[in-house]
């Protein structure tokens, strides 16, 4: 390609650090002064078509570029076929976008198209996948953006300036500058050129990216634009500034024959929290809240920051005076001097918050600092933003499963044994995990595991589209997004929430999220000292482990976790029941019942559990209700022989025991069913003797308790007990209990049917 050399005299290259507030200020000032005809920004050119939406966006937002077709869930393409380019209000790229939008100046993105980037990434991931068993987890957790492999250019400069931390050097030199200082960009480009001269020419992906940026610049110049402003990473600045040093032929050669996929771009809302994690443009931002503050505060950033911290502390009820703030500012500034920094940075202010404002209270300081450093805020996008892949995936699923989104309520009953219906249930559960409450389980139906029926009430609300867009950063398909969401919400959930989440993961068939959630669950179980939490966490797990195979989930790992939980419950059981009042004991008794049931479902580790119960049954200072219950469970399980049981009941019902304690003991013992008294007349006799031995006022005191105990039984049961008492009263004269002889012939079909049922249930 021959032609006149383009005129680069009016091209300004603004080398920035992505998400640097000082860079953003400088870009804003430089653009206002340059008044360019066109602005080029480092970013995927797929987004050129949607820059018109900038006016309606509220940062932080992110550009999402994804494959145009919807890849099948679980494949490499669904995992790797997308990328984010986040922008915060303090990103220089955003400053450039806003400037261009405000002045009606055209904007183009000039980085290598995501079509190539994604194609490369997919190819690489597929190669890794087909390679023989190469730590599949590492592939899963590979960063969404290709890491930049390169000698850290800032590190070289920072070292030359005597800094050990490149970020801090850049912060001091560029980011913490105020308005009105001279443009730093020529100096930055010169510095980078010096470093690049040492490190040699770029190779691989970066060489291709720079070639593409130059090609874009050339074509823009060719179109007749003259005053061109390019906003790109500082590292690339020399490569664009010295456009004439690069030959068109070389650049075209570099870009020839790149793999390509079809892509689409859209905007999604982003958060400061996600900005803080590494994603998008290279490294994450350590303290987006601080940067946002640096960008928005007109002056005195340290003073304003500490005043804000004091305000937050006061809201939390801490007395923090203005003199605290004054001393905090002084400490931050003298620390900066001691460390040889021009201005106090995030480290200095956080130390001032700890040492002065919080008077050394580190947990409080961490709270304030964490909140302010991230400065959580959620961006928003206008409704006419193109659909995100998650929405498209849902639409496809709705079509496949023949579930129409309708704005009125509709009930849906599902039979989970049928594949199609089970898939519907899975979809609804996944959406719930994403915060899209399209279907709500109907209470009457119940969602108990182990049953195969589910009842839902469906109603689609337009807000749910917004929720889907907000959920877009989690993933491109409902399955992958729900997995990511579950994993993340597991990170800071409490124990009961975690078990619920485990169950949700099972319902939603999120096998990939399960190991992570279970790992968190084990951690929490180890540190949670409230044993009732552990006990309430156990039954869902045990159910899942026992009936897991109904939905085809792997029960072994669940079983291990459940067994460990049970072991911890066993160790902590005895100390936990000390000093409970009767209401608390009643709650605890129910927890013991459900744990016992769960232990039975697990089938293993029950030995320890019954031993723990045994210890409880014998101890003196255990609340009566719990002791009674423990004895009953052991008796039902055949662990306590009739003789022993009589001895214990006798002890509990003896005159030395406080009658109210005896009554609640009895209530715990008889909870559920009183037939044990009918079958063992000696027990009944013991209770009878105890009752008769009570003085009148004592009797009146315990009467309501006894009424409550026996009132809970069914009519026939009460009648049987009554008859047994009457028999006992009649003494030896009462006719021995006669049973009608059983007609084995007539009973045979019933016995056969029951046997068949038992065999079928595997019992």
């Amino acid at each position: 390609m021959a032609g006149p050399r383009p005129d680069t005299a009016k091209v300004s290259v603004l080398g920035v650090r992505h998400h640097g507030p000082g860079s953003a200020r400088a870009v804003r000032a430089a653009l206002a002064e340059l008044e360019p005809d066109i602005v080029l920004i480092e970013g995927p050119p797929e987004a050129d078509a949607i820059t018109s939406l900038v006016g309606g966006l509220q940062p932080p937002v992110a550009l999402l570029v994804h494959l145009s077709d919807t890849p099948k869930a679980g494949t490499v393409r669904s995992r790797e076929g997308w990328g984010f380019w986040p922008f915060a209000s303090f990103s220089p790229e955003w400053a450039a976008l806003v400037h261009a939008h405000g002045r009606g100046v055209p904007v183009r993105f000039c980085d290598l198209p995501a079509a190539h980037t994604l194609a490369e990434r997919i190819a690489r991931a597929e190669a890794a996948e087909s390679a023989p068993e190469e730590e599949p987890e590492a592939v899963d957790q590979a960063p969404k953006e290709t890491p930049r492999v390169r000698a850290d250019p800032l590190g070289v400069l920072a070292e030359a300036a005597g800094y050990d931390d490149a970020e801090r050097w850049w912060d001091d030199v560029v980011e913490q500058r105020g308005d009105g200082e001279p443009s730093p960009f020529p100096a930055i480009a010169d510095a980078m050129a010096a470093v690049r001269a040492d490190s040699g020419p770029e190779a691989g992906r970066d060489a291709r990216r720079e070639a593409y940026m130059r090609q874009t610049l050339r074509s823009v110049l060719k179109e007749g634009y003259q005053r061109v402003a390019v906003v790109c990473g500082a590292w690339h600045a020399p490569a664009l500034r010295d456009l004439a040093d690069y030959r068109i032929k070389d650049d075209t050669a570099l870009l020839r024959g790149l793999p390509k996929v079809r892509t689409t771009a859209t905007w999604v809302p982003w958060t400061h929290g996600r900005l803080a994690a590494a994603s998008g443009y290279g490294a994450g931002v350590r303290a987006p809240g601080w940067y946002h503050h640096l960008f928005t505060a007109p002056d005195l950033p340290v003073h304003r920051w500490l005043t804000e911290a004091a305000r937050i502390l006061r809201q939390e009820g801490q007395p923090v005076s203005s003199s605290h703030v004054i001393e905090g500012v002084r400490l931050a500034e003298s620390l900066a001097v001691l460390r040889g920094r021009p201005l106090a940075g995030i480290d200095e202010v956080s130390e001032a918050v700890t040492a002065v404002l919080c008077e050394g209270e580190q947990t409080r300081a961490a709270l304030v600092h964490g909140r302010m450093a991230v400065g959580e805020r959620l961006g928003s996008v206008p409704p006419d933003t193109p659909m995100v892949p998650l929405q498209r995936d849902l639409v496809a699923a709705q079509r496949r499963l023949r579930l129409k989104p309708e704005a009125f309520e509709r009930d849906l009953d599902l039979d989970l044994r049928k594949d199609g219906q089970r898939e519907r249930s899975v979809l609804l559960h996944r959406l719930r995990l994403l915060g899209v409450e399209w279907g709500v389980p109907r209470a009457s139906g119940g969602v108990a595991r182990g049953t195969f029926r589910e009842s839902w009430r469906l109603c689609w609300d337009p807000d749910m589209d917004v929720a889907l867009i907000e959920a877009a950063p989690w993933g491109t398909t409902v399955a992958s997004a729900a997995t990511a969401r579950a994993v993340e919400s597991a990170a800071d959930a409490e124990l009961p929430a975690l078990t619920a989440l485990t169950e949700q993961c099972l319902f939603a068939e999120l096998g990939e999220a399960l190991p992570e959630v279970l790992a968190r669950l084990t951690d929490r179980a180890a540190t949670d000292s409230d044993i009732t939490h552990l006990m309430s966490a156990l039954p869902p797990l045990a159910r899942a482990a026992r009936y897991g195979d109904v939905r085809g989930t792997d029960g072994a790992r669940l079983r291990t976790v459940a067994r460990r939980l049970l072991a911890r419950v066993c160790v902590g059981l005895a100390p936990a029941v000390r000093g409970l009042d009767d209401d608390a004991a009643a709650v605890f008794t129910r927890a013991i019942d459900s744990t016992h049931h769960a232990a039975g479902l697990l089938g293993e580790g029950t030995q320890d559990w019954t031993e723990a119960l045994e210890a409880l049954a014998r101890r003196e200072n255990v609340p009566g209700r719990i002791a009674g219950r423990a004895n009953r469970i052991l008796a039902d399980a055949g662990r306590t022989g009739p003789e022993e049981l009589r001895a214990r009941l006798g002890l509990a019902m003896s005159p030395g025991t406080e009658p109210t304690r005896a009554a609640v003991w009895l209530e715990g013992f008889l909870q559920g069913s009183g037939l044990v008294l009918v079958h063992d007349e000696r027990l009944l006799e013991l209770v009878d003797t105890w009752l008769l031995g009570l003085s009148e006022d004592r009797f009146t005191a315990v009467l309501p308790l006894l009424r409550r105990t026996f009132g809970a039984f069914g009519g026939p049961e009460r009648q049987e007990i009554g008859e047994a008492v009457a028999r006992a009263d009649g003494g030896a004269a009462a006719p021995p209990r006669t049973r009608r002889p059983i007609d084995t012939g007539r009973a045979a079909p019933a016995v056969a049917a029951v046997t068949a049922l038992l065999e079928r249930s595997g019992g």
């Binding site: 130390e351 000292s529 000390r578």
Partner: protein
């Protein structure tokens, strides 16, 4: 060195000190630093803040002088402490026992004002005279109130000289005595009403106080006093290596000063005690695979030291002269289980889930079980 007006008896001062002060031990280092230090010094300071941090954290000077590190741990802590003193705010060092609070305060005072001896030890019996001034009663009766009859406290002396005054265990002092410091810290002046004069602090004066934040039965600082301090919380040692080193050093020193019979120090046992303490303190095993509960006690390095010393005494007098797991088992359980019920559960869980399966810990596990978990 003290400024007590009672003429010190020569006999009391003769002989070599058992433990020389920091500024005596490290006189050579301080001198070399002062010579090399070309940065600006705050008024009344012997060194610049930058040189003080170098003195504490260790460095090699241009002339080849090796400055030994005095504080092994976070650079941040030292920097905040020095910056605080440079802004003439009082410094409060807070931490569990055995986190080198006193050590740091002594060296800070030595480096900043070349004198670490202006010290008030806070106890329940510390009286107001100890932080303000007292009287030489013989003189007072004979001559009436006069400056000659005044006995200045270390704090008053520090004010007059413009150097650092140190207060140990501030929270152990009665509250009214603590509050006597408020005027000193806010007005930087100490009036002597009886004489109608006041002592104004010269530039360079400051207070370093230490306090223990885990002790029971201490007098909490009033918020008026509290807000005149910048508070630095000293952390427990960062790495296991550091902690083992600190424990080994201290155990040796203690063993010598207590004249315990020689027992070969068993590094394995020290490492084990440090590991148990660290794991229980942080709530996660050193390999970060298993979480454990943390007990209510502090489990400081100082307690680890006492467990080992105790174990050595047991081994020497009743054992076979070697430090065995059984010698430390009882001590360690005593340190961990402060509350019989809740800590008992913690300790048993730790033994069953962590100690039991760890390789080479069989003896230790059995010994602990024997002690009666």
């Amino acid at each position: 060195m003290t400024t007590s007006a009672a003429a010190p008896n020569g006999d009391l001062r003769s002989g070599s000190a058992l433990r020389p002060h920091a500024e005596q031990t490290y006189a050579a280092e301080l001198e070399a630093l002062a010579k090399a230090d070309d940065r600006q010094r705050p008024p009344g300071w012997h060194l610049s803040p930058w040189a003080v941090t170098r003195y504490l954290l260790g460095a090699t000077l241009d002339d080849g002088t090796e400055i030994t590190p005095k504080y092994i741990g976070s650079r941040r802590v030292v920097e905040i402490a020095v910056a605080t003193l440079a802004t003439d705010r009082a410094l409060l060092l807070l931490g569990v026992p055995g986190t080198a609070k006193t050590w740091l305060s002594e060296h800070l005072a030595a480096a900043v004002s070349g004198d670490s001896t202006l010290l008030v030890q806070g106890t329940a019996g510390t009286s107001e005279e100890a932080v303000r001034y007292g009287w030489n009663y013989a003189r007072l009766l004979a001559e009436g109130p006069s400056e000659a009859a005044l006995v200045p406290s270390p704090v008053m002396t520090a004010m007059a000289r413009g150097s650092i005054g140190r207060i140990e265990e501030l929270t152990r002092m009665p509250s009214d005595v603590q509050d006597g410091l408020i005027t000193v810290l806010s007005e930087k002046a100490l009036p002597v009403a009886e004489l109608g004069i006041e002592v104004q602090a010269r530039r360079g004066f400051n207070i370093i106080a230490t306090a223990n934040d885990r002790d029971r039965g201490v007098n909490d600082l009033s918020s008026a006093l509290r807000r005149r301090f910048n508070t630095v919380v000293l952390p427990v040692p960062d790495s296991a290596e550091d902690e083992v080193r600190i424990v080994t050093q201290r155990v040796e020193q203690l063993g010598r000063s207590l004249d315990l019979p020689e027992v070969p120090t068993s590094l394995t046992e020290i490492q084990r005690v440090v590991t148990v303490f660290r794991e229980l303190r942080s709530g996660v095993t050193e390999d970060s695979t298993t979480r454990v509960k943390s007990p209510s006690g502090t489990l400081s390095t100082a307690e680890a030291i006492s467990v080992i010393t105790n174990g050595i005494a047991l081994a020497a007098h009743f054992g076979d002269g070697r430090l065995r797991p059984a010698d430390v088992a009882a001590g360690i359980q005593g340190a961990v289980v402060q509350d019989r019920v809740s800590d008992g559960v913690v300790w048993r869980e730790y033994l069953e889930t962590v100690a039991r399966e760890r390789e080479g810990w069989g003896d230790f596990y059995r010994a602990c079980r024997e002690v009666g978990a």
